[in-house]
């Protein structure tokens, strides 16, 4: 056997110890990654369900629903006298736990509302008639400053074909401060659902 033949034989057949090492490495790496995540089975995301007066926290806000009521008069008219209609008023205690000033509109974007018995979704943009901080007898302020607790009023009009809501389900989606696909600059972006509130609508 020439020296070149010996060299080819060495390259062609991997040694048993190399095969075993590679297999152990792959297995150990897979286990090390999969074990802390709960195994190889897909983890079920269980969103907690809470009631009136219970606190929930995301990365940007903590909220406590304080009161939900169906009103026959607009409780927060933008201009002039209060108009009659069907208004769903949601009062929350809120703390901005993020690092910068947010607005009540930012919070409202994270809240998805479904009313019963119809099961219809309230459009959080189109159906919203007012959103503000309750302070000094008014609700015209919009800012939620970090670490300052506020009472917030969100008012939605109930769309005409829907029956009067008796229950309200609020799903709060988290916001996370991170970079995204559109920009490498960080900003608040939608995250996972944090909590589902099952609330009775008072009158």
């Amino acid at each position: 056997m020439t020296s070149s033949e010996r060299s080819q034989g060495r390259r062609g057949a991997p040694k048993p110890w190399a095969v075993i090492t590679a297999a152990v490495f792959v297995l150990a790496t897979t286990l090390a990654l999969a074990w802390p995540a709960g195994g190889l089975e897909e983890a079920e995301v269980e969103v907690p369900r809470r009631r009136l007066g219970e606190v929930s926290a995301g990365h940007r806000f903590t909220i406590v629903p304080a009161k939900v009521s169906l009103l026959a008069v607009d409780p927060a008219p933008a201009f002039g006298d209060a108009k009659p209609g069907r208004f769903l008023a949601v009062e929350l205690r809120v703390e901005n736990i993020g690092h910068d000033t947010a607005t009540v509109r930012d919070l409202a974007q994270d809240l998805h509302l479904t009313v019963s018995p119809s099961g219809a979704t309230i459009d959080r943009f189109k159906d919203m008639s007012a959103a503000g901080v309750i302070r000094d007898g008014a609700h015209t302020r919009d800012q939620l400053h970090p670490r300052l607790k506020e009472r917030v009023l969100l008012v939605y009009t109930v769309p005409r074909p829907l029956p009067d809501p008796t229950h309200l389900k609020i799903t709060m989606r988290d916001s996370e401060y991170k970079e995204g696909f559109d920009s490498e600059l960080s900003r608040w972006r939608p995250g996972e659902d944090v909590v589902i509130y099952d609330l009775e609508v008072g009158r």
């Binding site: 690092h99 910068d100 000033t101 302070r135 000094d136 302020r141 919009d142 800012q143 400053h145 970090p146 670490r147 300052l148 607790k149 506020e150 970079e179 920009s183 490498e184 600059l185 960080s186 900003r187």
Partner: protein
């Protein structure tokens, strides 16, 4: 054996250097942040497009704004304290709005100027005409010490950044002892004057 040890040591050193470079690399937020000129209270701080001088800092439990006719409005409360920063701003080259006024605390929290109308950050400044007036902030009382005022052209854009724009950062000189004294002597209500051209 010796060669293997040397190779392992070189690999470890390269790995450590890699981690160090990764950590030292500024984030995109830092790379695109406004370019700040720094100063203290009572001193004029210049940028390419505006000049700013902080004249006074006063905390208060409630404030009362003065309307254009000189009448004092109803008191405004806050769950924290009001910080009234009286400042003089002048645009130098083009019209300017100090909409990106923020108070940054030691803990790294950023408080945008309050949305109360008739304050310095709501006024459009014309070049060469200095304007004096209040900037209003609402913060927890415990965060007053060490607060820094940051002013940029506007607060819009990604992450509220004025990308690579001019900015002013003013250390308000609120040491622990001074902040504590200000809080102790804080008035229950402070009347805030109008913005005026100088």
């Amino acid at each position: 054996m010796r060669r293997t040890l040397v190779a392992a040591a070189v690999a470890a050193a390269l790995f450590a250097a890699n981690v160090a470079v990764q950590r030292a690399t500024p984030s995109p937020d830092q790379r695109y942040a406004p370019i700040a000129s720094r100063g203290g209270t009572g001193h004029q701080v210049d940028t390419t497009t505006f000049q700013l001088r902080v004249d006074r800092v006063q905390p208060a439990r409630t404030i009362r704004m003065t309307d254009p006719y000189g009448l004092v409005r109803e008191p405004r409360s806050t769950p924290g304290i009001w910080v009234v920063v009286s400042a003089t701003v002048a645009a130098t080259t083009e019209t300017f709005q100090a909409q990106g006024a923020r108070l940054r605390t030691r803990a790294g929290l950023e408080y945008e100027a309050s949305s109360v109308l008739d304050t310095l950050d709501k006024v459009t400044l014309q070049p060469g005409i200095p304007v004096y007036g209040p900037l209003l902030f609402e913060i927890p009382a415990r965060d007053l010490a060490g607060a820094v005022l940051s002013v940029t052209r506007h607060a819009d854009g990604a992450g509220g950044l004025d990308v690579l724009g001019p900015a002013v950062e003013v250390d308000l000189g609120l040491s622990d002892a001074y902040a504590s004294r200000l809080l102790k002597e804080m008035p229950s209500s402070l009347t805030v004057g109008q913005v005026r051209e100088l």
